[in-house]
């Protein structure tokens, strides 16, 4: 595949990152990376900690100076523009609200810095507060607000001056699960209503799947895979991508001449058209594609070691003969095997994905 991923084609490019890279002495925080984000798109940078996603975000907004590469916003090279002139909005993980200013003053801050007229500021602040349903808290100080309210203020402070791009650095990381899900819907709504271009950083794959138009999966300071949530889930390109997004059963092995993969668990048929160039590869089978019973050339045997009932499904964890774990998902109607029972699980050849 090519290095620069087009963002779909129908949208004009809002942000283009070209060969952006950051080194601190001998360590590389971000290898030369390129991507392009379309107008009004919601792109998520997803990856484990230390994968370079926050570095990429900081390079885009200018808080960190790039070692190489260019940041192009609206067709203009902004690589050397200082932070405060880039017209980018950044929502911080811990909100970064100014503790000495009231909610209204916090939201007015970016407008004042832009020298807007007082009446204009007042109107926009009111609108922004309405947008996040916090009109009644305008005169409070940030510390008098709950975590969720503070985050809504931070969002309002960012949306109020309509920056060309809004960056969000794990904005929901400090909230509990329930609130996080609520705020996800809130952010989705703000995105839809404002039509803003958003680059969002998270290490939470569910959040990424729920919010994004496209996901940029990162690992080891570089971009691992870039695509829609569906593409990445259904067609992961690497074992890391398969493992990081959703639950995967991964069998590593060597491709043989007759279109199968030789693994420690046996010889498995490859899906149609799948090839691995260097002979090494891995088969990824999602738990929902595994079923009890044999399938010609595509089954493994093991012992049930754990049964997890999760309401809409039942998850079976089986121990394979070499000690590796296998996860399969049973629908509501299916018969559940007993603990320590010997089972055979199979999958349809085309449901498996070959990754490098």
């Amino acid at each position: 595949m090519v290095a620069i991923q087009p963002h779909g084609g129908e949208r004009p490019s809002k942000l283009v990152v070209e060969g952006l890279c950051k080194r601190y002495g001998a360590t590389t925080a971000l290898e030369a990376s390129s991507l392009s984000v379309g107008e009004g798109e919601f792109l998520t940078l997803l990856g484990p900690s230390g994968s370079g996603k926050t570095t990429l975000l900081q390079l885009i907004c200018g808080l960190v100076e790039a070692s190489e590469g260019r940041v192009i916003i609206d067709g203009r090279d902004q690589s050397r523009t200082p932070v405060h002139q880039r017209d980018i909005g950044l929502v911080f993980q811990h909100y970064a609200l100014f503790p000495h200013l009231t909610v209204a003053e916090n939201i007015a801050f970016p407008l004042k810095m832009r020298g807007r007229a007082a009446a204009d500021i007042a109107r926009r602040v009111t609108d922004a507060l309405e947008m996040v349903h916090l009109g009644h808290l305008a005169q409070r100080f940030p510390r008098e607000l709950s975590g969720g309210q503070q985050q809504r203020v931070a969002l309002a402070r960012c949306f109020v001056y309509q920056p060309s791009i809004i960056l969000m650095d794990e904005p929901l990381g400090a909230l509990d699960k329930k609130l996080r899900e609520h705020m996800q819907i809130e952010i989705k709504r703000l995105h839809r209503e404002s039509g803003a271009t958003i680059v969002y950083v998270t290490h939470d794959q569910e959040e990424a799947l729920a919010l994004s138009d496209r996901i940029c999966l990162m690992n080891h300071a570089r971009i691992e895979q870039l695509g829609t949530p569906r593409e990445i889930y259904e067609r992961p390109r690497t074992a890391f991508a398969a493992d990081f997004i959703g639950i995967s059963n991964i069998f590593r092995g060597t491709a043989t001449a007759n279109g199968s993969l030789e693994t420690a668990h046996g010889l498995f048929a490859l899906p149609d058209g799948a090839r691995c160039d260097d002979g090494k590869g891995a088969l990824v089978i999602r738990p929902e594609h595994l079923h009890l019973g044999t399938e010609a050339g595509n089954s493994v045997a093991g012992t049930v070691s754990e049964i997890v009932y999760a309401g809409s499904e039942t998850r079976i964890i089986a121990r394979l003969d070499d000690g590796a774990a296998l996860v399969l998902r049973l629908g509501p109607g299916e018969t559940v095997p007993g603990l320590d029972e010997r089972i055979v699980a199979g999958w349809q050849r085309d449901k498996a994905v070959l990754v490098s």
């Binding site: 907004c61 808080l63 200082p82 932070v83 405060h84 002139q85 880039r86 017209d87 980018i88 909005g89 950044l90 911080f92 811990h94 970064a96 100014f98 503790p99 000495h100 801050f109 970016p110 810095m113 832009r114 100080f141 402070r157 001056y161």
Partner: protein, 585 residues
């Protein structure tokens, strides 16, 4: 039914007020009540009483108001203390800002350049400046030697000398007060301001500086109050026209034996200090001194403040742009580190210059020394007077350290476990000896000890020094306990340990570093202490600082340099050890 009755009986029965763990602070409260609050209060009373009849009288105050001299001295004291606070902030703020932005590892090391001058004895520092600024001092020797000037400059015994000495003595205090506040400012707020469109100048002034203001005010207050009670610096570096209030008090007691009048002067100083504190509390809240969060003021003053900061930011932005044009981006980035290093040199170098002089072979304090020898150390070690004073200082410091660490430790433990409103009040009371000028405490103790027969005793010295050292031990131990996970105590309790065994087996081993640091800080406080020693030690029972003071008044000699080096080395070694323990428990 019976349960309800029992409960009611339980409720109506006579009970101690619910202080809970605060009982642990009681010994300290009593100690400070007797040896700090009472003598200071009595001092205030004494100034309002006719010494002959014991009746209420404002005669002493009338005398102060009636004589031009005292008002002038008061004015001088205010002016010098005010300028000292101003300059210490102007120099200390950039240094503290630079330190606060360093990576943690470097900051720990760089901080020693502030800590060592902070704890170095005022006498040693003043002695150093006498050598540097004197008529035949280092600067004049260099200036005349190189032909820049033909006449030695008058750098000493004038206001310049006093200001240099005072600011040098106080910058470390300002920095140490500013640093915790700056460390508490979330650096991402400045980044946030910039992403929101604020230029670096606006981000600094509207966010960082605004949030550091409580620290600025606290540093200004502490420096101002400490400066009010200064006498060492003006006595040696100033002239007649730089006489400060504390010097008058010493003269009144030691030479004129006019105790009530000294009391009135001390009361005046105390009143000034208290009014400053009160003003500070109204504006910022006292807890910020201990690193607590600041109150947020509201109303018109606040709005005005924000507007003024906006103007400053705009001005600073223009200035920064201009500087950048002249020096370039790299050049203007070097201004702050350069300033910080020059300030560090100003703080450290004078004291270091004393070291070669201690090894001079000359009879005089000439710089550079014509040759090197150990003569002056031999003189020091051979002198029974110096050696006895040294031994006494060590013993007193050791006893003080044990007493102050015990009291401070129990109080810190009490405060850490207490959630009542009494906690804040007790904390403020224990910090008070740091805020009340030392000379006031010393004079108060002098009266008390005179009646108790504790003058010229080691016990008197130990008590006085413990009063001064308690705030340091409390703050040090409280800081460690703050980061200490209280659940460990609860875990020990659930595992079957009683209170005492929890304390001995779990808490103390884990906060050991803080305790050792507190012990050493208290030791240094006592080892350096002069003010109380002047009043309480008498005759041949002197301490090292007192002996130095007497010698310095008599005449400067190279033995003093040798003694200074000894004091400097002892204090520095203790300090570095304390810092090591404080960081890695």
């Amino acid at each position: 039914m019976s349960g309800a009755v029992a409960a009611r009986q339980h409720r109506t029965g006579w009970r101690l007020p619910r202080l809970g763990p605060l009982w642990l602070a009681l010994p300290g409260v009593i100690f400070l009540g007797i040896f700090f609050a009472y003598p200071v209060a009595q001092l205030l009373g004494l100034s309002l009483v006719d010494p002959a009849t014991g009746a209420f009288s404002t005669a002493t105050y009338q005398r102060i108001a009636g004589t031009d001299v005292y008002l002038r001295v008061l004015g001088i004291t205010f002016r010098i203390a005010g300028y000292t606070a101003l300059y210490s902030l102007l120099i200390g703020y950039p240094l503290a800002y630079w330190l606060a932005r360093l990576p943690d590892i470097f900051r720990g090391r760089m901080l020693l350049f502030v800590m060592v001058p902070f704890w170095t004895s005022y006498l040693v520092k003043t002695f150093a400046w006498m050598i540097v600024l004197g008529r035949s001092g280092i600067i004049n020797a260099l200036a005349t030697g190189s032909g820049i000037v033909d006449q030695p400059l008058a750098l000493l015994h004038n206001e310049f000398g006093v200001m240099v000495g005072m600011v040098h003595a106080m910058v470390p205090l300002a920095v140490m007060t500013l640093l915790p506040v700056m460390g508490g400012i979330d650096r991402r707020l400045v980044q946030a301001a910039q992403t929101l469109g604020a230029s670096p100048a606006h981000a600094f002034w509207l966010v960082y500086f605004k949030l550091s203001l409580p620290g600025v005010a606290a540093a200004g207050l502490l420096v101002f109050i400490s400066s009010l009670g200064f006498f060492i610096v003006p006595a040696f570096l100033g002239g007649r026209r730089e006489t400060m209030l504390a010097q008058l008090i010493i003269t009144q007691i030691q030479e004129l034996l006019n105790w009530p009048f000294a009391g009135a002067l001390a009361a005046m100083m105390l009143a000034t200090a208290l009014i400053s504190c009160w003003l500070y509390d109204r504006l910022f809240g006292l807890s910020t001194i201990a690193g607590g969060s600041a109150q947020v003021s509201t109303g018109r003053i606040r709005d005005l403040g924000l507007v003024i900061l906006g103007w400053i930011a705009a001005l600073a932005g223009k200035l920064a742009a201009l500087t950048r044009m002249v020096l370039g981006k790299r050049g203007s980035g070097l201004i702050l580190p350069l300033f910080a290093w020059v300030t560090i040199a100003f703080l450290v170098v004078p004291t270091l210059l004393v070291i070669p002089l201690a090894f001079t072979s000359s009879q005089f304090l000439e710089f550079p020394p014509p040759g090197y020898s150990l003569t002056w150390f031999e003189t020091y070690f051979a002198s029974p007077l110096w050696i006895q004073a040294t031994i006494r200082s060590f013993l007193v410091a050791f006893a003080t350290a044990i007493a102050a660490t015990t009291v401070g430790g129990f109080t810190a433990l009490a405060l850490a476990n207490s959630r009542t409103r009494w906690g804040g009040l007790i904390f403020a009371f224990f910090l008070a000896p740091m805020i009340v000028p030392r000379i006031v405490i010393a004079v108060g103790l002098f009266y008390l000890f005179a009646r108790m027969g504790l003058i010229a005793t080691d016990l008197g010295l130990i008590i006085g020094h413990t009063v001064l050292a308690i705030p340091f031990t409390l703050v040090t131990i409280a800081a460690v306990l703050k980061s200490y996970d209280q659940r460990l105590d609860q875990a020990a309790a659930t595992l079957g340990a009683n209170r005492l065994r929890t304390l001995v087996g779990v808490t103390i081993p884990l906060v050991k570093g803080g305790l050792v640091a507190a012990f050493l800080f208290a030791f240094i406080t006592s080892f350096d202490e002069l003010t109380i020693a002047i009043f309480v030690s008498g005759g041949i029972k002197t301490t090292l600082p007192k002996q130095m003071w007497d010698d310095m008044i008599l005449q400067l000699n190279p033995t003093l340099a040798a003694v200074s080096v000894v004091v400097f080395v002892v204090v520095t070694v203790m300090l570095v050890t304390a810092e090591r323990f404080r960081r890695a428990p």
